[in-house]
Amino acid sequence: MKGQEEPGIIGMILIGILAAALLYLLIEFVFSNMIPLFASGSVQVVSRDLSGLITISGIAPYKITIDYSPTADILYNVSIDSRILTASTLENNPKPMTISSGVSHYATAKTAIDNLKTSLVNAKSFEIKKTTQFSDQGRENVYSVTAK
C-alpha cells in the first residue's frame, strides 16, 4: 500500500508547486498591468492627466494657466504633435513607491485642441497656458506647454 501511495503524494506536491507557480505569475501579471493605471508617477497616469488638463484648458473663454507637478523627483520626456501626447520616463529615474518594477516607461494619450506642438525633455513639472488673441480675422486660441 505504501508503494502505491507515494506516486499520488508526489503528484499532488507537483500539482501544488505548479499551481503556486502559475498563481504567482498571474498575480505578477495582474499587478504589473494594474499599478501603472493608478500610480501617481507612472507615465500612463501622467500622460492621461496632462492631456486632460491641456484639453480642458480650452474651456476657459479668455485665458488660463495650470501648473501640474505629478511627483517631486521623476523626470519625464513629453512631446505633443497632431493632438497626440507621448510621455516617457528614463530607465534610470528614481523608482519610489509610485513606480513599480516592470511598469512601462512609455505612454500616449489624446488631446482635443489644435495648434499645439511641443517637445519637452527631462521635465519635472509643467505649465499649461491658454490665451486668446484678437485680430481682424477674429479670435484665435493659443496654447503652450512648458517645463517648469
Binding site: G8, M12, I15, G16, A19, L22, L23, L26, I27, V30, N33, M34, L37, R48, G52, T55, I56, G58, I59, A60, P61, Y62, S82, R83, I84, K110, T111, A112, I113, D114, T132, F134, G138, R139
Partner: protein, 221 residues
C-alpha cells in the same frame, strides 16, 4: 473495495484542488478585466465631457460680443451657419466636409455627433464629424461611403427625416446604432462610446433667449 474507494477519494480531492485553483484564477482575471474596462470606458466618458465643455466655449457656437465670449450661451445665428437644421437638411453632404467646429476641437481617431435642441421652440441642429483618422486597420473612406449609403431615400430614411423634422427623433436622426455598427463591422478595435448632455442657453435675439440641450455623442476607434 478499499482500493476503489481510495481512488474515488483522491479523484474528488484532485477535482476540489483544481476547482479551487480555477476560482482563484477567475477572480484575478475578472478583477483585471473589469478594472481595465472601467478605466477605458471612463477615458471615453472623460473625453466626451471635455468635448462638450469645449463646444460650450467654442467661438464657432457661443455668443460673442466684442472680445467677450459668453460660455454656455449658443448663438442661433451661429448654429444655423455651422450645423444642419430643418431648413438646410438636404445640405447633409457637407456633413463629412471639414467642419470648422471639428477642425478646431476633436479627438484624433474619433467620430462625434453634435445635436443641439431648443427646448422652447423645438429648433434642432445636427452635425456629425470626426477628428483626424489614422488608426491602423480603420478605413475611413469605406466607413464614410458605408454611412452615406445608409442615407439613401428608402422608407426608413424618409421615416427618420420625418421624425427629425417633426421633432420626434432622438440625437441620431439620420443613422441609428445598427448603421454605425454595420459600417464598423470590418474594424472591431473600438475603444468605446459615450453620450453626454449639457444644458445650454440659445440666444435668438437681444431680447429672446431659450433653454436648450447640447448632446455630444463620441465614438473612439
Amino acid at each position: 473495495m478499499k482500493g476503489a474507494e481510495k481512488v474515488i477519494n483522491e479523484f474528488i480531492l484532485a477535482l476540489l484542488a483544481i476547482g479551487g485553483f480555477v476560482v482563484i484564477l477567475l477572480f484575478f482575471l475578472n478583477y483585471y478585466v473589469q478594472t481595465n474596462a472601467v478605466i477605458k470606458s471612463s477615458d471615453v466618458d472623460r473625453h466626451s465631457i471635455a468635448l462638450g465643455n469645449l463646444y460650450l466655449s467654442s467661438d464657432k457656437l457661443a455668443y460673442t460680443i466684442n472680445k467677450t465670449l459668453s460660455r454656455d450661451i449658443f448663438s442661433k445665428e451661429k448654429l444655423d451657419k455651422e450645423m444642419i437644421n430643418q431648413n438646410n437638411l438636404f445640405s447633409y453632404t457637407k456633413i463629412f466636409s471639414d467642419s470648422a467646429i471639428f477642425s478646431d476641437i476633436s479627438f484624433p481617431n474619433s467620430i462625434v455627433v453634435l445635436y443641439a435642441v431648443d427646448a422652447e421652440s423645438n429648433g434642432r441642429w445636427f452635425l456629425i464629424g470626426h477628428g483626424s483618422l489614422w488608426q491602423n486597420g480603420f478605413d475611413y473612406y469605406s466607413y464614410e461611403t458605408c454611412l452615406m449609403t445608409k442615407l439613401k431615400l428608402d422608407p426608413q430614411t424618409i421615416g427618420r427625416i420625418f421624425m427629425y423634422t417633426s421633432g420626434l427623433s432622438g440625437p441620431f436622426p439620420l443613422w441609428d446604432q445598427y448603421d454605425f455598427k454595420e459600417c464598423e463591422s470590418s474594424y472591431t478595435a473600438q475603444v468605446g462610446t459615450s453620450l453626454k448632455a449639457f444644458p445650454v442657453a440659445i440666444r435668438l435675439s437681444d431680447t429672446e433667449v431659450h433653454e436648450g440641450i447640447l448632446w455630444v455623442w463620441l465614438r473612439e476607434i
